[in-house]
Symmetry: C2
Subunit: 404 residues, 2 copies
Amino acid sequence: MGGVLKGNMLIAQSGGPTVVINQSLAGAVIEAKKHPQIENIYGALHGIKGILEEEFVDLKKEPVNNLKKVAQTPCCALGSVRKKPTEEECEKIFKIMQKYNIRYFFYIGGNDSAETAYILHQNAKKAGYEFKCFHIPKTIDNDLKENDHTPGYGSAAKFVAMAVMGDNLDNLSLPGIKVDVIMGRHAGFLVAATSLARIYKDDGPHLIYFPERPFIIDKFLQDVEEIYKKLGRCLICVSEGICDEKGNPIATKFIREVDAFGNVQLSGTGALGDFLAGIIKKELKAGRVRADTFGYLQRSFPGVYSEVDAKEAYEVGEFAVKCAVGKDMEGSVAIKRKETKKYSVYYQLVPLEKVAKETRSMPSKFINREGNDVTKAFLDYARPLVGKLPEIGRIKGYPVRKRK
Amino acid sequence: MGGVLKGNMLIAQSGGPTVVINQSLAGAVIEAKKHPQIENIYGALHGIKGILEEEFVDLKKEPVNNLKKVAQTPCCALGSVRKKPTEEECEKIFKIMQKYNIRYFFYIGGNDSAETAYILHQNAKKAGYEFKCFHIPKTIDNDLKENDHTPGYGSAAKFVAMAVMGDNLDNLSLPGIKVDVIMGRHAGFLVAATSLARIYKDDGPHLIYFPERPFIIDKFLQDVEEIYKKLGRCLICVSEGICDEKGNPIATKFIREVDAFGNVQLSGTGALGDFLAGIIKKELKAGRVRADTFGYLQRSFPGVYSEVDAKEAYEVGEFAVKCAVGKDMEGSVAIKRKETKKYSVYYQLVPLEKVAKETRSMPSKFINREGNDVTKAFLDYARPLVGKLPEIGRIKGYPVRKRK
């Protein structure tokens, strides 16, 4: 390659928001400002859509202190999009890149974004256009290959753990059966994190169901009944992505809408929770059965975030730019965990196509044999990513002797 | 009455939890420990149910530092109940009070709890049993008469304001129409608090609907369409208790279950949100329409609370005990706001029956003429109750000139 590639930089965000995705934006832009070979720093509004419409903002002019404030703000400061460009659109995008002399491109998103970056890089290579193309990971689902975990996951995990801590206390106050539906289309990492809510022995969640294991309604009802008989209450966390034995999402039984990628709409509806509460009510004849679907709060609630997650999200953005101004032409930044006793990570550039094609599921070692809870291995994995949770007090409850 | 009434104290919690209800418990118990005329301090588990079953715990033995930890923990440390005792049960309770020489009774709850306290006090009076009976207010609905506001409201209001701040950013990232369903059966105070989420001019919620105004579906669709045309997105907050012109809850169109008080189940289901998203999709032919029902998180989420609310919740518990060891025989503690420029309150004992019978709604001056937003008067009322909200940053977004 030889010599320094001079030109403009373009950065964009894609897919579902996270609470720390702007940390990655700030990390990349603040780093880029330090390198004179990066001339202008543009942000495309709403990902690929903004590139196609040439809707750019000048991020070099953004004051660093404002970028730092934006970093702490949830969701996509540049706007997001759920769109995978067609081949024709990729051609068009490539022409726009040339027109604006974009030589450095960073796409913050999940595996679909890595794929878009991969295609763009391939096009540039074919055309002999020197074009550095990087993917910066984010997803609350934690389902990117090559990564120990992904930015956004730790904070979403903290949110659901806290929500379930509270909901467990609510369920202790007014006992009954409660179903909480947690995000995660194909991977159970997020629903698994609800296990961190447990402090006292009888704390919920008492049952956790993952997309990685078939969800058998009879077995589910049996599990619930057993806990309910023992504790007089039962708190259940299910992933929105639970599937029957044939691999069909339970949610498809009553939801028909599909998104631009042909995926069934799982979030933004209470239907799955209401369905499960309904069958519990009917089959177990239990009195108080309720369902909550945590919804978009899991990826957007301000002020509740994991400090480790926020730091790493910043650093992956920064690292991508450092690679780009070095000799690397393309890649996806991956978070790797060191094999040390004390939690620590390092970042590594991996080929785009390794992250682009497929997503990963929860390893089997994280799910118990019955398929209705996590293992200690999961707890050890997740605790450092989430960090400190609120203290929960209980009265000691010294009993009073009954009088005659 | 003359002379000091010596005897035991009983305290219990009732109704839906709040994030600060244990502050009131701690405030009352820590204060009671200081007064030698209060001999034993008992806590009844699950309110009236625990009294009927004589399920008591000894709270005098509880270390103060544990009570302080419990105070910061959401939901009912003694357990709660949704039960209004029958006349027969009131008789039974009264006998239990005598058997345990309970001379001081404190019931933390909403207006139903005030009514229970009122009936018990009347029974004691008739029987000539010296019995001090107090109601300590709590409700996230903020619907107790005689109060400027109630403990629990400020924290729930902060939670929904923060949730909508995040959801507004989510909706900015991925534009569409979003419906958020907020708790509040008869009073719109909580849904009104979502207005505090607004910082920038185009921030949502763009529309707010209250139980106090008839919800006309055609008008609603017209409102949504107008905003959607203008902004390309629309964030709507509706109270779970919205009713049609005849006063029938919109939710009754698809929910049949009623609770022990004959109230329709509004929480713990996503049905209302899904219904509203469904009609928007159908009638407005809008692309991305989603609904979230914030559910029990609004009253139980740990770590997110209003400092003013926590302080006041502690103080109303403390104040009730101070009144009880003085010359007062009965009453409900009410929070009154001073007419000062800087926010400040005082507590006043009001007769139980004044709080017991009815609840209050939002005053008309808090709702705009169109019935789809709050007024400045509401914002001035609510801001000091909620306190500081997270900072939200936005990129300045300096535009880049399009190239030819």
